[in-house]
Symmetry: C2
Subunit: 656 residues, 2 copies
């Protein structure tokens, strides 16, 4: 391994010295700006398409394979279980069994509670934890994600659906619309995956999600006060003001102290369990099984004391048996088709964002690759099948996936284990939930969602990026004070506004020479950098496109005006050269070229020469294609700012 | 002027030498990456706001002035006529008079024709050339723009309005809706200006405008075939297929040969005049007065031959007298308020785009500054007043502004001259237009709009930027084959798609050392650049935001995988360092920091060290704020790639 590298290094070393000598002798070697070999149009288009839609090169393993092998690979790509299943062994199964049982014990009480958030009967939550995990286990490629209904999506779906149909008066239609929305959520997810448009979910920024999740958590927790305090007349709105009104209006005769005692006791227990799990990572199973223990204990307690006769609300009835078919219940025509479609897209996108974020997080932790688009197809297929088997939108749950990971899951088989447990529950145990008090479910949900409020992330966001913090707070307050939809809308709008701001108002900087180097840097960052008299060096920090070309031109001219004004004050030499450092300018379009032409003309009128430094491959290509390189003169385009200055300086001296 | 600069240069020279010596002695002087002085939050916010909304620093002249002076300056800012009016003189007036008369002779026949495009009676075109130019002359700051109705906006308005109300059956309501739309177009324009949101119009890319204008020109020309061929039953749709259907269906008995003869004769005359004007710039007045001559000659011809009795359609009636008030005709309530508002916004934005583009073009040619936002306020005010005086949306006309410029206009006073001529026309001459054949108006419009088809620009766009060309053609075919609105929608969508693509899929490049320099550049652009063995140098060519952070991270890891694979094939040394050149990375947000953290962790697992080169002021600030600089180690952040390589290389040797 030794010598080829040494030789290479030696060569570099020589280059180094020859440069130094050259400079010392004041005959700097000026390297020409490279024009990349002309690409043909089709190839260029192909490369762009590839980077946009196949950035992760998913077909890499298919290359140079016989057709039969390609077919096998293709089927394996759709059903990764065929790949990892072949090397599955008992050790892996042990991990998956333990983690599957753990997440099952966590998901059963959560499911019953979350289905309430979606205004559906409790069994629908359990249904959604039976079929979708099986489909995902076959098609998904994340090893750690735990599939099922989640709090935020349940709330969002419930809010959007009850805007259209009353969930109590028209329960059947409401359910049908829920299945329709789930169907289209799945279709939307799968479509994004198939057409490799997965990057669209990146447009919801991390900061906006932190704010949205925090707001949703508070909204969900507030909704639980209904069950927690035993209030009968509760508002249907989700904003904090309506909810607090409901609570205080019913304070005198609407609260039920027995309910509060049960709820508060078990909430304390759950939070304590959470705290123990947090303090000692090995005891992660304590908070994981605490909810199930609470349910068993409280149900037993209500059963023997008959607390339900004292106003403690109980679950009463959960349908026994596994998922019935719901194929014929989906609206494929009429006005509800459109409404279901719209709601499905919103819920599907949020579900996707959550699942992909979870998948990526754990993939990074265990260092395996995750194809976001393939994940989307799996999630979409799972929801489409789910919508036909009485499930509502399922996705990856943050809390359960973390438990899954800590319990040592090895593959997606832990989802199969969980699914089996849910199957057994549905088949045999549901009648036992009859006496489970609603207050316990409320306590379980509250203790689950407080994890979604991520103070540390919010503080970090504030420290790092103020604009992100505005997005975060906007989403948070939008959800808490208005509604989930408005919060989401604010989050998306601010995210987009940020992108637009970025492309409309790129930064520019004045460069100066850092003493004892030939390096030119932003004088704001390096106050010790010296300006070169008679020369203004401006760096444009972005591609120059139609959205910013005018601004860039005018900003450069303003730098010049400012500089000349200051120059006059300081009795300095007049600016004779404007060097534009183009390193960060990755691309220009026709508007950009026009802006440069206008800049050139304006400078000519002022008697200032335009000099360009280090245009990139695409830019130099376009400068030539448009004839701009000829206009300003090929000899005014340099490889580095230092070369450009070396060109300007002698001329300045002559004139001075 | 001599010595301060010389001293400065001498200092630089010394720096130069000390650097060279340092390198030759192999003890390179490594400069630290600067951390800019911490700014306070408020100041930072203020700077961002200023760059976004007051990028042109419009309040510069107000600084440090007494209050009374500020008031005067403020009034002058709103009414620039008070400023330039004080230095107005006879020489300037001579230029303005000649150019004003020239554009008046051009605008009168055009106005009558354009009002037909908007489905309004001929006098409304003339009204719109009387009041708005006066308001603009007082408030506008462009010296060359010629105000009045224009073809594209007339067509757009006509199409959008007739979707709502039938212009023949309900002429009065149609007119009212037109005034309502004009009112809101003005409000929209003025609002954008007042809130300094003028940059929003930059989101319609140059390429999209070229395509849209070309398509609109063809659509308008096709519409003129009705008058040109004397067809009675003509489609109301504007797409090329419907129009050609109409034409060929009526070929047998619907065409009128007398009309065709008149039209064809004068169209030939007009095109000839245009050609003469193009060949000899001094004869610019030939095409400028040709339309009026055609009108006079053809009217006289029809009058003496009574061709109208042989089926030649004539104007018949133009209301005499100046603009009546239309304040009470604007819909301020009901469903038409919303419709008028929507149409007004679309028409207003297109009108604005055209006017600002014209203003900027001529301002660059005469080298004066134009405040886009102030222009918008002027244009908005002019349309609001216009809507109350029976005008429809007016804006700057490309063709008339060019004539105005060539005729030697000096100030906006040429618009006043034109306005006076239109006033006299309205008061005294309109009855004379009775016998003007419609075919002449059609010929005048055809000869005017063919200028909007800019083949050269389209070819240049094709040469420079293929994606821009797609946008251009999309808008063009959308307008020609579907409708103006769809074309516009396509233009805007493609423009946005381009921005989103830009921020989602930034470029990355592998750098190599250019022989005989210490400069590291893209190896695709400089094939002679050498890679440094054991080190992978990647440059990220964009700010790292939530929209691209995942892509950037994964792309870098893919470069590494590719490189390692290739490295293995070549028996080269294993990659031990990943240098990320951050010069073009102007900003990171929280998602970006997360991506870097994930990158760092993935690299650690692979046994590759992460090294950063030249992070900018904002980035280094955030790297510190987030603790990432500590995570990777302060000593892994360098000023230049060369410094970073100097750090990596010795370690590589040791390990080898």
């Amino acid at each position: 391994m030794g010598h080829p590298m040494d030789a290479e290094l030696e060569k570099k070393e020589m280059d180094f010295r020859s440069l130094s000598n050259g400079q010392a002798a004041n005959v700097p070697y000026i390297h020409k700006v490279g024009v990349p070999p002309k690409q043909n149009l089709l190839k260029e288009f192909k490369v762009t398409m590839k980077e946009t839609f196949f950035a992760d090169d998913p077909l890499r393993s298919f290359k140079d394979q016989p057709r039969s092998r390609k077919l096998v690979l293709g089927i394996q790509a759709i059903f990764p279980i065929l790949e990892w299943g072949r090397s599955y062994n008992l050790t892996k199964f042990r991990g998956d069994l333990i983690s599957g049982l753990t997440i099952a014990s966590l998901c059963i009480p959560q499911d019953i509670g979350y289905s309430k958030l979606a205004n559906l009967a409790p069994q629908y939550g359990l249904y959604s934890s039976f079929v979708p995990p099986l489909i995902y286990a076959a098609m998904g490629s994340s090893r750690d994600i735990a599939i099922g209904p989640v709090a935020v999506v349940s709330l969002l779906l419930g809010t959007l659906l009850q805007n259209e149909i009353d969930p109590i008066k028209h329960a059947a239609e409401y359910r049908q619309l829920a299945f329709t929305a789930t169907f289209f959520a799945g279709i939307c997810q799968a479509t994004l995956g198939v057409f490799r448009l997965g990057f669209l979910i990146d447009f919801l920024s991390h900061a906006a999600i932190v704010g949205f999740m925090g707001g949703a958590a508070i909204t969900i927790a507030l909704q639980q006060l209904k069950g927690f305090l035993g209030i009968k007349n509760f508002t249907k709105k989700t904003d904090i003001i309506s909810v607090l009104h409901s609570i205080f209006d019913s304070a005198h005769h609407g609260w039920n102290w027995q309910t509060i005692v049960i709820g508060a006791t078990f909430l304390t227990f759950l939070l304590l369990a959470k705290y123990i799990g947090k303090m000692n990572k090995k005891l992660f199973w304590v908070p994981a099984i605490a909810p199930l223990i609470s349910v068993v204990l409280s149900t037993f307690f209500v059963f023997i004391t008959h607390a339900e006769k004292h106003g403690v609300e109980i679950v009463r009835h959960i349908e026994k048996g596994i998922n019935p078919s719901s194929v014929d219940q989906i609206y494929f025509s009429g006005e509800y088709l459109v409404k279901g479609f719209r709601i499905g897209i919103v819920a599907g996108m949020i579900a996707l964002t959550e699942a992909v974020a979870i998948g990526r997080t754990f993939a990074t932790m265990k260092d395996y690759q995750l194809d976001g688009n393939k994940e989307m197809v799996a999630l979409g297929a799972m929801n489409v099948v789910g919508s036909m088997t009485s499930c509502y939108v399922a996705t990856g749950s943050f809390s359960r996936s973390a438990v899954n990971y800590m319990a040592g899951c090895q593959t997606a088989a832990s989802n199969i284990v969980m699914s089996c447990v849910v199957f057994l529950t549905l088949q045999f145990i549901t009648p036992l939930f009859k006496y489970t008090p609603n207050a316990i479910l409320a306590a379980i949900i509250i203790s689950a969602v407080i994890n979604l409020i991520d103070f540390e992330a919010a503080i970090l966001i504030f420290k790092i990026d103020k604009f992100d913090f505005v997005a975060c707070m906007g989403a948070f307050f939008g959800v808490v004070f208005v509604s989930v939809e408005i919060g989401l809308l604010i989050a998306v709008s601010i995210s987009f506004a940020k992108i637009l701001l970025q492309v409309t108002r790129p930064r520019t900087a004045i460069l100066g020479k850092i003493p004892r180097t030939t390096v030119y840097r932003n004088i704001r960052q390096y106050p010790e950098a010296n300006r070169v008299p008679g020369v203004l060096i401006v760096r444009i920090d972005s591609a120059v496109y139609f959205s910013n070309s005018n601004y860039v031109k005018e900003r450069i001219l303003r730098w010049l005006t400012d500089e000349e004004k200051q120059g006059n004050d300081d009795y300095q030499t007049k600016i004779q050269f404007l060097v534009v450092e183009m390193s960060p300018v990755t691309d220009v379009d026709t508007s950009g070229i026009h802006a440069f032409e206008e800049l050139y003309r304006s400078l000519q009128k002022k008697g200032v020469q335009l000099v360009l430094a280090n245009p990139g491959p695409v830019v130099i290509d376009k400068l030539h294609a448009s004839g701009f390189a000829n206009l300003i003169g090929e000899d005014k385009i340099f490889l580095t700012v230092a070369d450009a200055i070396a060109f300007c300086s002698p001329k300045l001296v002559e004139e001075a």
